[in-house]
Symmetry: C3
Subunit: 435 residues, 3 copies
Amino acid sequence: MSVTRHYEREFVRTFFTSPTAVDGEDDSAKMLRSAGQLRGLQAPDVWVPDNEDATAPNMRDEGVQNIIEVVAEQGAEFPGEIHPRVVWHRESPATRYQGFQQMLEIADPDNGAVEHIDGFVIPEVGDIDDWKKADEFFTIIEHEHGLEEGSLSMSVIVESGEAELAMGDLREEMGKPSNNLERMFLLVDGEVDYTKDMRAMTPTGELPPWPELRHNTSRGASAAGLIAVDGPYDDIRDVEGYRERMKENRAKGMTGIWSLTPGQVVEANTAPLPPKTGSWLLEAGGREVELEEQDGKQVYDGDDLSLEEVSDGSYVLQAGGDRLELDKDELTEELLDRTAYIPSMNDIVDSMEEFEAAKEAGKGAIAMTQAATLVIDGVEVDISKDRMWDEATYQAAQTPITLFQDVYEHRPDQHEELAEMYGADIVERATAVGN
Amino acid sequence: MSVTRHYEREFVRTFFTSPTAVDGEDDSAKMLRSAGQLRGLQAPDVWVPDNEDATAPNMRDEGVQNIIEVVAEQGAEFPGEIHPRVVWHRESPATRYQGFQQMLEIADPDNGAVEHIDGFVIPEVGDIDDWKKADEFFTIIEHEHGLEEGSLSMSVIVESGEAELAMGDLREEMGKPSNNLERMFLLVDGEVDYTKDMRAMTPTGELPPWPELRHNTSRGASAAGLIAVDGPYDDIRDVEGYRERMKENRAKGMTGIWSLTPGQVVEANTAPLPPKTGSWLLEAGGREVELEEQDGKQVYDGDDLSLEEVSDGSYVLQAGGDRLELDKDELTEELLDRTAYIPSMNDIVDSMEEFEAAKEAGKGAIAMTQAATLVIDGVEVDISKDRMWDEATYQAAQTPITLFQDVYEHRPDQHEELAEMYGADIVERATAVGN
Amino acid sequence: MSVTRHYEREFVRTFFTSPTAVDGEDDSAKMLRSAGQLRGLQAPDVWVPDNEDATAPNMRDEGVQNIIEVVAEQGAEFPGEIHPRVVWHRESPATRYQGFQQMLEIADPDNGAVEHIDGFVIPEVGDIDDWKKADEFFTIIEHEHGLEEGSLSMSVIVESGEAELAMGDLREEMGKPSNNLERMFLLVDGEVDYTKDMRAMTPTGELPPWPELRHNTSRGASAAGLIAVDGPYDDIRDVEGYRERMKENRAKGMTGIWSLTPGQVVEANTAPLPPKTGSWLLEAGGREVELEEQDGKQVYDGDDLSLEEVSDGSYVLQAGGDRLELDKDELTEELLDRTAYIPSMNDIVDSMEEFEAAKEAGKGAIAMTQAATLVIDGVEVDISKDRMWDEATYQAAQTPITLFQDVYEHRPDQHEELAEMYGADIVERATAVGN
């Protein structure tokens, strides 16, 4: 009856593609080989030997052989899942047939790779009937090679309007007896080709933000028990921009993102985990500024907000064009409205444990308090924020913890780095809470 | 042929929930009893005795009895509609069966409450087939208790991706002979559980804004002749934020909102009504600032815009980083671009009456003018804004008036407060115009 | 198999409506007659003699006759397509039957207009079954008048929630044997009536932005091989606002827009074409400011950013509330992050030619560089931006060029103005590249 996830891992943070065959190298599989040796935070949750766009068309036959060779050799030790991408196009039967042949070859047990292959990624899908064509090839391949039906998972790249619409039909279609769409795993946005398909243009050529596409992908994943992954972030230098994008995505329920380099993998493996230390945000100049902690106090040292105690208990707060004369209580109130707290991993575990104890004692809701001393232009103000926790808040707060636990369970190769990041004690409590 | 609304009231401003049974009180129905006595602007359009999340699981049997007792006693006098919320979950047959039993008991005519019950609210619905399961229970209950088929209306809380998708199917499904989905009334967003279901995360734990969900709810309501209601706004202290949220919602066609306290009910009953007095907005510092009226002039006293007459008929306007040298006409033009007028109830009624007279006289379009004297840094500038009104503008402007008339018709208990707010004369003209 | 566009023109920039009969004029067809004489950039891609909202109800019979007369006379010479709008309403059989009669009369070959009529525009459509009713009337008219089945194209105005949902079904419905929906051409948003239908309200009465509607229209067009067109922009004076709206629309893949005046037609015919000269954008004060070129350098002269060389190779950059102390490399990096380049038509053609040559030579990706000298407060900084071009970038960049080529092919009356705008040489290269 429920939305069952047909795969072990509940979250995928990272989707890392590698060219399968690079021309002009001594060893055309060099990039594959080095990717297959990544471990820990540098290793993705899902590794995608990419026999489509990342590999030149005339190298793709060699790419298939490279995938087989490298996965057969290194696959047993690789800490993430392995999902090669083959060619496909909703408008080309020839391309679809090539995709089928690539999968048939890679999945041949005689080649020794398939036991380490978790599934395949199908790009450029169209409407739901096109997804079924791919699914049918998976089924044929499984039968042909004596693999269990449904054992190869299927992920798609959403890069057309019709594929976006198909995500709304998926839940209903997945149950039908004439397909095996229960093998579906990832819904991955591909914004470069999507932009082309939608014939969208921006003055500078940068990609449009496509918020509705990302919402619909996340919703489609939620409704069908799948995992939503955002497309590549091209500007590899721009770490801040990549983080900002991931933050936006998580607010949409899209936890995963494409990574183009091991550096991006580290960022994307880390970003969805709660921070080691909490921090305070202050709204100033139309932005939320993270305050700096000095001697246990939260200091604002920008110019967009200024505060002065003009006489005893009487304050002037200047913010942009506004000048506010406030007494102590009004000032506290105003600053409360302007602040927010980002809880640390420790805070979240504390709150959850506290709520669990309260529930045990028969209470349905408790107030959690965060207090701080703000310092603006040398003036100190104490604030204290209450938040009611009930069952629903508890469960919503649990998402990052569930993610952490999922990571901890499936990625033992990251245990050491996680312990370094948080301390062994917090890691232990975080893996225990809520179970 | 048309989208027929299967209920008397065309708008619902307020959806107010009360716990049905609170442990540790002398009278566990105390909160229900006091909510049932609300009148006027403090009383919601829809009152929801909440036997789900607001009530502890072990108190819900008592909650059913409390609903029956309080509604039987107070229901006849309550000025809004009454729609208890029962338990339900798309993934739990046990919970669904409990929900059925709760409704069966509450709707039993022998218990004396059902004649004041307008319908039930079903939370945690899934795809459209799940909605049909709830609808079928309504039908069975109606037959079992000798009630007219379809007489109990059904509202749902949308708090999953599949329920969001179901809203796109509703119009088509409602006509089918094997269900009674014509009983549908409210589509209510439940963002806390929706956020959990979508596995979304924000750094501070605050809810994502979910603009697409709200659009889809409003569109689903429009397509199926229902009413869209936004979820709870948790920060009860933050009246400004609640108003801002409602303003955003109305721009999406979502007029109703959840209210958690009688104070929020007053805000939400009032917010969608046109203001008593008109006001001018000026764009300054990237925001729209409401000007202050002084002696019939509109005065800006912020620091984000400065204006100086440097010589006769020659002006310098400074806005953010830009310095504009303008003659009188250019200045007027620039300020016209930066201003907007919020019409009062009186303005809207005037314009509609004027347009009706013009139409009577055979004219299809007329120009409406709003004039004002702006004062910036002591410099006075006269501006005058024209807007063409044709049939389409007229009909669009009518929405707040239709809402007002709907409120006036169905909420006699608010007549006195409305007359105080606007004056009896304007109330009378507003109830008459456009009919 | 593919999404085939069932019409010659691939893009429609402009959708220009004219009243068909104006009361009180000597010649009620005066506005039609003058619109039919527009040429060059003043002439729209699609001209819509509007026998619905732009024409008073009691003038619509005369409007039908005027359409016939003017199109018979001027249609052969008109450079764009001609698609009259007739009356229709999803909730009124009487209005639908009137719409049928209007089309039947206009399309009668004896009246001499139909050979210049490309199709009809149907307003106020409802769900997909309502679209089929209109389509069936087209089919009957074609048979009745001996026209080829499917030869009259059908465009709709999306101004209801159910029509918005219908766009998601269109691709699937278009293939069915019992309709001729392959005749579909334009999906046009009608935000005024949509706002009414959604019962949305804004304080000032201005239209909500409806980003989700525009996305869904663009996606529906993409999935069904149609063209998306945005609704009217009422504030005719506000050219800047109209341009801003079109820029937003293009980022959504919606290239076309309604035009209410020949002036708006010129703007909307021009806006989607690449600029004659490239330009640099600098992020300052939360906005992107276009820099002014002076002696080949890019000069910023606003106040939101200030730069000083405090000692040799050591700089202070002040931006809003932030003060950054930077060495030369950090400064270059920071400015790189804050700048973007808008390529000219020439730049795009250059890059495409360069990539084509590289591909010919067996390279899959090349780096394109844009360099500039920025001047801020007299301090000069050289920056240089690289962008990797692969097949996908190439194809995405091609959209404006494909648009240009489409315009060039179908609008010979604009050749002269395009040559004036870009120079004959660039026009020639732009029409040749990528084929």
